[in-house]
Amino acid sequence: MRVRVESLGLMAPGMAGWEAARPVLRGEQTLDQQDLPAFRPALLPPNERRRTTSLIKLALQTAEDALRDNRYTMSELASVFASSEGDGEVVDRICQSLTLPERPVSPTHFHNSVHNAPAGYWAIASHSRQFSTSLAAGPDTFAAGLIEAASVATGQQQPVLLICYDSALPSALAGRGYVDISFATAFLLTGSEDVSAPGCLQLELKAGTAHPPGLSRELATLREHNPAAAALPLLVALAKEETSELALPCHDHLTLQIGVEG
């Protein structure tokens, strides 16, 4: 299956935005792991933004980064939201409130607790009534999201925004899940017939277990602590604009083979 990467978004410690991240990904600058700034996605009107959580803001800010200059209007975009943990902060608040005598669950926390909350806010902000899904696949959530998004982009001939994002779990759950550092990336994908255009990806699933591709020590640390950062080898290849072949692990016994056209 072949797709074209139209544009990219990235929000990670020391890499706030795709343009700012490119020199780091190309190895021209070292990663200065500063904390992520507080996000204020302009996509959301202030009254909606106030009701959101840091995870929802992270996802939407990353979407905004990928959409900074592109030729599509937001309302025509399909979307795939991929997150391995969903919103740990909301789970923490709800479960804490359930230990109180009156068990007062906040209605806002409750509707924000659904895995597709970022997708719901995205649809409201973008006015997109198009296809949208929200998925999880544990440590291989990025690969699953990429396959789903590519399948929609090619099968339904529709531009698709893939957003893969996870926030560090709150302290009570820290170390028990897959995520201890925040990281998010967004890919705007279209179906592509063109065999060798720059920025095109050739995707194939193969039997067999892959070892994750090599990364610098700093980037490898991000990958160890956030499944969305499994995208890093692909982001490095795209930042370098080099033709390359990558093999991403995709559950036990499977490998997602990605040919990148530089």
Partner: protein, 395 residues
Amino acid sequence: MSSEPLLITARSTVSALGQGLEAAKEALQSERSGLRPNDYDEGRLATWIGRVDGVETVVLPDALAPFDCRNNRLAALGLETDGFAGMVATARERYGAGRIGLFLGTSTSGIEATEQAYHQRAGNDGPLPTSFDYRHTHNTYSCADFTRRYLELEGPAQVISTACSSSAKVFATASRYIEAGWCDAAVVGGIDSLCLTTLLGFNALELVSGEPCRPWDKHRSGINIGEAAGFALLEPAGGREGVALLGYGESSDAYHMSTPHPQGEGARQAMQQALERAGLTPAQVDYINLHGTATASNDRAEDQAVTGLFDAVPCSSTKGWTGHTLGAAGITEAIFCSLSIEHGFLPGTLNTREIDPALTTPVLRHTLQQPVRVAMSNSFGFGGSNCALIFGWCD
């Protein structure tokens, strides 16, 4: 569909109606509800629920013990019902473990395990109990991780979690994966289990009814929460006959996080797309299994969406039998549609006494024996996530 219809070659259902296809068919045909006064959480909330008996005593295989929680026990019950796991094993021999995809829906996964862990440390800010295994119980992917190991599958897998449309959307994803060649066949399904988060969360939104839910009723007062597990094995028909997925449609409301679009715009778009994919006109649909949750706003919006597209197609909501099984509603009602097609009956709408005069969809009050060739199932969720599926007899 533009591609070959996908045949349901094995299926299982567990809900408040009991375990298995036969229990579900008998209950739907005889109008026996599975709802009961709330006895979960010592019945502290005055409502009715659709509870599955026997979940508490399910024992997972030793190798999968870290996955132990209510949600995965319910999954295991579903996998062992109607001989489902055995039929998947046969398919595994035929296709190869790596060529069968696994797509499951859940909304709250095993959150009950996290609720209990917080409860155990209540009153202090210390660490949660060491025995609490968040990754294998509550993490969103847990039920697919568990099921993939249980069924010894090695193909692509994911959990779709879009609230109450989750396990309807798995059919669409499976269809795309098979069409694209990522896999040759797929296990789809959904599991959602009782927990305090949904009981008290929906209650905080004033959407929980204190009586058995009454879809489409003038005096409807909200949902009853249910739990369920269901699975289906989907394979290209290849000349065989049976109930098949003919089309699907997926859309977003782009309106509000917890209230449907007032005119049901997104819902109508999903139904329209499903018809187009199936190559059918509205007049060719014999029955619609409504989302029909019995909240004031859902039924009103769905009524507008359905009447905007269909002219007098018999409809019903089966929530009065099972309660709203949330992330498992899509698979549960898909299986009910398959039973309707196979055995020629249209379920009624239990507990509904006086149809809301503001709603004009022709809703069936009682179960009817009548042939069904094509059935549509609607599932809509928080965040404005809509999915419509069309099933029909394929020969």
